[in-house]
Amino acid sequence: MLSILLATVTAFAQGIVIEVPGSADVPLAAPKPQLPAGEPQREADMVWNAMWTDLDQSGYFRLQDPAGYLEKGKGVEPGTFDFQPWTTIKATVLVKTRVYPAGHASCGGGADKMCADVYAYYVPSGEELLSTRFRGPPESARHLGHGIANAVLEATTGVAGIFGARLAAVGSQNGNKEIYLLDLDGFGVTPVTRNGAINLSPGWSRDGGSIAWTSYKKANPDLYVKDLGSGRTRVISNVRGVNTSPAFSPDGRRIALARSESGDADIFEVDARTGELVRQVTEGGGIDVSPVYLPDGSGMLFSSERGGGSQIYLQRGGKAQRVSFVGDFNIDPVVSPDGTQVAWVGRAQGGFDIFVSDIDGTNAIRITQDTADNEDPTWSPDGRYLVFSSTRTGRSELWISTADGRHQKQITRTGGWTQPTFRW
């Protein structure tokens, strides 16, 4: 009898139970790197700035302003500092860095290598999450910062970051539309074309060694492929009419593209090396464009007007299935690296927006809205992000967003950027 009563007391004692799920946006503090006394600050600043930008873009952290840090001049290694100042400002992850310039005895990389050490801590438990040294030439300081950011992401989320990845995109800053490569943080812009004509819709080969694109340099919109290693360019498709929206097959041996030699554009596959026709994928039924292979090569997504307005279709084994059902105009599908999701551009109130759904079109969400035109989505290699072009600032810039649209950050700031595509 007594035990029954006691059990009742215990149950009653826990009068209110509230469930609290964890929240994202982990508060992260990252003080400026430590540097040996008297050494120049420039490379250390480049390392820290690249890391800071990457962690900000990652969507996992709420970066805490260094102006509010209470700790000054303490060490980076465990035990050389106290966690209390970081607890006071409610930091959850603490990233401490130390930079040794090239030739410094503590770096040990010879006269031409600098070092960047990173220590990451989980403040609530004081646990060390990461301690790693990155070493490289001084001109790679930004890449050291990317390496640090990727390592911090791996230590805190379990998956390494993709920062330092390369994009291909169309830039029109010099009046023409040329193809450029650039880093995910907008730095490292390198021209691929310099022909003064209109160049559009770049697409990477899976090995990252080649880029296919459409160019009007001989008046007709023909398809070219450039080997980025040798710099050699060759024509792959130049039938009369358009030769556009190229996509390399997963094995890199074929290129799918839209050609309009017989009227309405249809999807064709050609040999990626010789340009010889492999097969015609679609035929008739209105314009079919923007093909993209599923990662396992089992099918293809494309946009088509076969049902009236332009919609996204998934074709497997010769049978096409519509996967977009929001609105009357949906174009430019891109499939996630794991093949489970598709992103595309849809016309919505106020402009064009990016939509994401499961590969069969279910669970569609709109990740941009009320921000002018948002177009040209491309998936990051890890499937966690989408990069796209947006006119929300008044100029066409590249933006990065988490795949759920929660965090969106601007990448470029010079204007004139469209059609980004990730190197996978």
């Binding site: 004692a13 982990v26 004081g126 790693t132």
Partner: protein
């Protein structure tokens, strides 16, 4: 006339002269062509685009020169044998209705210790009875106050105010506490990915006049010290919670449990 003279003049030239002129001319053209083609060919050599790749290597960090017991400390924290928490809070101000940790059930036996324990339990039961008098008791525990779709039948009726889920003031208060805790609860994704079903229950003692959290105890650890640390850290960072509507205050005095879970 002049034309005829010219013709005569040409006829008088030696035969080898035009051949020599032709040879020199063609040789010059050939040389020029070779030079131009060499220069143009040199200029049109395709440039490699992948020329900005920079080597960045990851190397082992040298051993720390500090004599810090970080490894041992961390190991102890991992095993739960060392308290990772900051300095202990001051003891709570205990009111008649303050929540008490459940004591072990006394074993039967007429020892003095058992009698004292029994007397203590009886006093607790008396307090319990007092609480029940305050409540129009058709239930005692609301474990699903935060779940509007719950089918649980253990909702509370306090002072005749009815079901907790039907009281918008109570629901709003629960939401406020939940948001406050969420804003300060940041478990690492890396930990959650490996352990998606983690749950840490933290019991709070709350000053019923100010809402200040005077004591917190991990009642049910998750098994992952870092996750538990995130939970207690959230409670510490919140510090003070809003008080519930007056009718629900007795329940707060009897204890508030927070179940911390992954997002």
């Amino acid at each position: 006339m002049s034309t005829a003279q010219g013709a005569l003049h040409r006829e008088s030239q030696p035969l080898w002269l035009p051949l020599a002129v032709s040879f020199v001319g063609h040789t010059g053209i050939l040389a020029f062509t070779l030079i131009v083609s060499a220069v143009v060919g040199r200029c049109s050599t395709p440039e490699p685009i992948i020329q900005d790749a920079l080597e960045v290597s990851v190397v082992s960090l040298p051993k720390s020169k500090t004599n810090v017991p970080d490894k041992a400390t961390r190991a102890a924290v991992q095993q739960g044998t060392a308290p990772p928490e900051p300095a202990p809070k001051p003891p709570p101000v205990e009111s008649d209705l303050a929540f008490q940790q459940p004591k072990p059930v006394p074993k039967p036996g007429p020892t003095d210790a058992d009698r004292r324990r029994r007397d203590e339990e009886m006093r607790k039961l008396e307090r319990q009875q007092l609480m029940e008098d305050l409540m129009a008791a058709d239930g005692s525990v609301d474990r699903d106050a935060t779940d509007p779709n719950s089918t649980s039948d253990v909702a509370i009726n306090v002072n005749g105010r009815g079901n907790s889920k039907a009281d918008p003031e109570y629901v709003a208060w629960v939401g406020k506490v939940q948001r406050l805790m969420m804003q300060n609860f940041h478990p690492l994704t890396a930990i959650i990915a490996k352990n998606p079903n983690l749950k840490t229950r933290v019991l709070l003692t709350v000053d019923p006049s100010t809402g200040r959290i005077t004591q917190r105890t991990v009642q049910t650890p998750s098994g992952v010290p870092a996750f538990d640390a995130a939970a207690t850290r959230a409670v510490d960072d919140v510090g003070t919670i809003p008080l519930p509507p007056e009718a629900w205050l007795p329940l707060l005095a009897s204890g508030l449990a927070i179940d911390f879970t992954p997002p």
